[in-house]
């Protein structure tokens, strides 16, 4: 009856992200992980002594704890083969013109400097293990906002503050990859927003992993003091190689009293990436964290940004979307700790699976004995685009006090044939019709993103939907 248009596409055209440069001129350390490598990383960076100690201790922990026994398989990840440290052939620049051409071209193609010109208050760009570019508008600097590489900040005005906070939300003992991160972390951003300062434009970091078989372990530390306000955007991508790459970054966010932080991410790592990223935020009294999270790339992903509501009436919201296509197993969700009275959190996620992809929503909500009068709602919707794909929902709730209001709702469905037929009866092709339905499904998330990212997300969905028919 209906003429089936069969478009067989073995691999989606991701050429926009999939270019890469020869990494032969970059210095690389030997693969594998030893105390010598950790010492060498630290030495090259000229770090304070406490950081070296932290690294060595983390390495010990890494060697002493087991891999997690839940979630998607990470058997394809051989740590001996992940080059932990790749230093690009440049030092950090604050003048775009002086960044080497191949790196500049990379970020140009990803639209980074353009985005900065058009609407960002500051931009940082990390290439492999090091920041290569960092700049911030004068206006933001005059307000006392600090946005710099975290390594240089270790020697600056806020060195003590960093020492006080560094890996306290994500201690190396938390899990094996947190320990690994503690041992070999490199690059990342430090942001400090002083009391009462509100920045109208977002700051952005962009992470690019270019080298083959490498790991990226950047550390992002953001402190938003009392009554301050910040929007931070993080983007990630990498070209595709046939060997595994690892991303085990850490994001630690501290939100002061009555302060507000919005943290937006569009993750589009290539499909050989193991994305084992850890993100946490602590909110003091009446502080608020808003997470916006889009996961499109990676071969395997474990990602559960955590909100610790430590002060009375602190708030968290998590808005996320995950799209798992062929060969992808993305286990995403979030964690919430209601740790004080009258805190509140809302979680809204969308999951899409296609072409044999596996998408799992996993969440944990804990109401501590302190959390009286708190509430949390979790809502997740999944859409499976064919019979080969899989979507699961694994919500966990641990309630340890009275008088809290916790709700969870989940729906899992398929694209309605009646909807596709309706759109097609108006002259829209089957592929476009499905793309339109999926984009509509994702709309509650994309409307929360800055325009450029919303456009990028719609383009990613369109790319993923090409070849979906047949």
């Amino acid at each position: 009856m209906a003429e089936k248009k069969r478009t067989q596409v073995e691999d989606i055209d991701r050429s926009m992200y999939d270019f890469r440069y020869d990494d032969s001129d970059a210095e690389k350390l030997d693969a594998g992980l030893t105390p010598e490598i950790v010492r060498e990383i630290s030495e090259r960076k000229g770090e304070p002594e406490w950081m070296l100690e932290h690294r060595l201790k983390s390495l010990e922990i890494y060697n002493s704890i087991d891999m997690s026994d839940w979630g998607p398989s990470i058997d394809g990840l051989d740590m001996e083969n992940i080059v932990t440290y790749v230093k690009p052939n440049t030092d950090q620049k604050s003048d775009w013109e002086s960044v080497p051409d191949n790196i500049k071209d990379t970020f140009d193609r990803l639209g980074i400097p353009e985005a900065e010109r058009s609407y960002l208050a500051g931009v940082g760009a990390q290439y492999d293990s090091e920041l290569v570019y960092h700049s911030m508008q004068d206006a933001a600097a005059k307000m006392g906002i600090v946005y710099s590489g975290i390594e240089e900040a270790l020697h600056g005005e806020y060195a003590d503050l960093i020492r006080e906070k560094f890996m306290t939300l994500i201690p190396p003992t938390d899990h094996k990859f947190a320990a690994l991160h503690g041992a070999v972390w490199s690059g990342g951003s430090f942001v400090y927003v002083p009391k009462g300062v509100k920045l109208d434009y977002p700051l952005q970091s962009y992470f690019r992993l270019n080298a083959k078989g490498a790991g990226q372990f950047e550390h992002t530390l953001i402190i938003v003091e009392d009554d301050a306000d910040l929007h931070f955007i993080e983007g990630c991508s990498a070209p595709k190689y046939n060997v595994a790459n690892l991303h085990a970054g850490a994001v630690e966010l501290f939100v002061g009293k009555r302060a507000h932080l919005r943290y937006s991410t569009i993750e589009n790592w290539s499909k050989n990436m193991y994305n084992l990223n850890t993100k946490r935020c602590r909110c003091e009294e009446e502080g608020e964290i808003e997470w916006i999270s889009g996961s499109f790339g990676s071969h395997v992903g474990y990602l559960y940004p955590m909100s610790i509501l430590a002060g009375r009436r602190a708030k968290a919201s998590f808005t996320g979307i995950t799209f798992a296509g062929r060969g992808q197993n993305l286990d995403t969700g979030c964690k919430v700790v209601l740790g004080a009275p009258e805190t509140s959190a809302s979680v809204e996620t969308k999951g899409i699976s296609k072409d044999g992809g596996i998408q799992t929503f996993r969440s944990s909500v804990v109401a501590t004995p302190n959390a009286e009068g708190s509430r949390c709602t979790v809502s997740c919707q999944s859409l499976m685009l064919d019979n080969r794909s899989r979507s699961d929902t694994i919500p966990a709730m641990d309630i340890r006090c009275k008088n809290v209001n916790i709700g969870h709702e989940a729906t899992i469905g398929r694209i309605g044939d009646d909807k596709v037929f309706y759109l097609m009866s108006r002259g829209i092709s089957e592929e476009e019709a499905k793309t339109m339905i999926v984009n509509g499904f994702a709309e509650p998330i994309s409307k929360e993103l800055p325009l450029e990212y919303a456009v990028e997300m719609n383009n990613l969905i369109k790319l993923e939907m090409e070849g979906a028919i047949g």
Binding site: M1, G416, D418, F421, G427, I428, M436, G440, F441
Partner: protein
């Protein structure tokens, strides 16, 4: 038959989940005419409309459909649409997250109609006014939370926007209220007036036909076309119902 037959089906049979619904339907609609398809509940009238549009839920097991001189039996619904066929749904779907305006834009672009933003806005604004529709609906998600009458307005809006060669209006059993009824009537008049369109109206409700000059009436019972005639048949059915035809088949 003359050469100006716009739609013709011959010996058309269709099944859903292997259950036969339509049996050897022969039907022709010449260009520019208004035809009505009537029949009791469950006669297969809506199925017929959907099969003409190419709904993959149904499988054509015999016969063929030709439209505008082309055999469209195997054609996908989007290609039929672009060839000039239109089906107004009895129960239009909801597409969350897709604003009506974007949807209308997509269906116009889908057929290569390039219109400047401003021009398109104006056109939609005018259509909304014509159909007594609050323009705020243009920015709402397609069908989500729309009343039955509003959904009908959206269907009529597409009819007037696309100006198809043949419009199949599936109004069976939909229990249209007075408001929705007048919207459909107005939509049909405008469609006839602006582009001399051809209509196949699937209905129970003869009020909808009051202002139209009906050229021919087809009666469907148990998946078969059992009678055809002039507009006079409408009054006859109004008075006597379908029992006579049903008795004929059961005999």
């Amino acid at each position: 038959m003359t050469s100006n037959i716009l739609l013709a089906c011959h010996g058309l049979s269709a099944v859903v989940d292997e259950k036969p619904i339509l049996h050897e339907i022969d039907l022709e609609i010449p260009q520019g005419e208004v035809h009505v398809l009537m029949g009791p509940n469950g006669a297969g009238k809506s199925t017929f409309g959907h099969v003409l549009m190419g709904d993959p839920v149904y499988e054509v097991t015999a016969g063929d459909i030709s439209f505008d001189g082309e055999d469209v039996t195997e054609l996908a619904p989007d290609k039929r649409s672009r060839a000039g066929l239109f089906l107004s749904f009895q129960a239009p779907v909801e597409i969350p997250g897709v604003p009506l305006r974007s949807f209308l834009r997509a269906i116009m672009e889908g057929r290569g109609e390039k219109m400047k933003n401003k021009e398109f806005r104006k056109k939609l604004q005018a259509l909304a006014e014509t159909l007594d529709m609050d323009p705020a609906y243009l920015d709402r998600e397609l069908g989500v939370g729309f009343s039955g009458g509003e959904k009908k307005k959206v269907e009529m809006m597409q009819l007037l926007l696309l100006q198809p060669k043949l419009a199949i209006l599936d109004e069976t059993d939909s229990g249209l209220d007075v408001d929705a009824l007048s919207v459909v009537s107005r939509g049909m008049e405008l469609y006839r007036g602006t582009c001399d369109g051809t209509l196949l109206i699937i209905t129970h409700n003869t009020r909808i036909l009051e202002h139209l000059n009906v050229d021919r009436v087809h009666v469907m019972v148990q998946g078969r076309v059992v009678a055809e005639g002039s507009a006079d048949l409408i009054a006859e059915i109004d008075a006597n119902g379908f029992e006579r035809y049903e008795a004929q088949l059961d005999a």
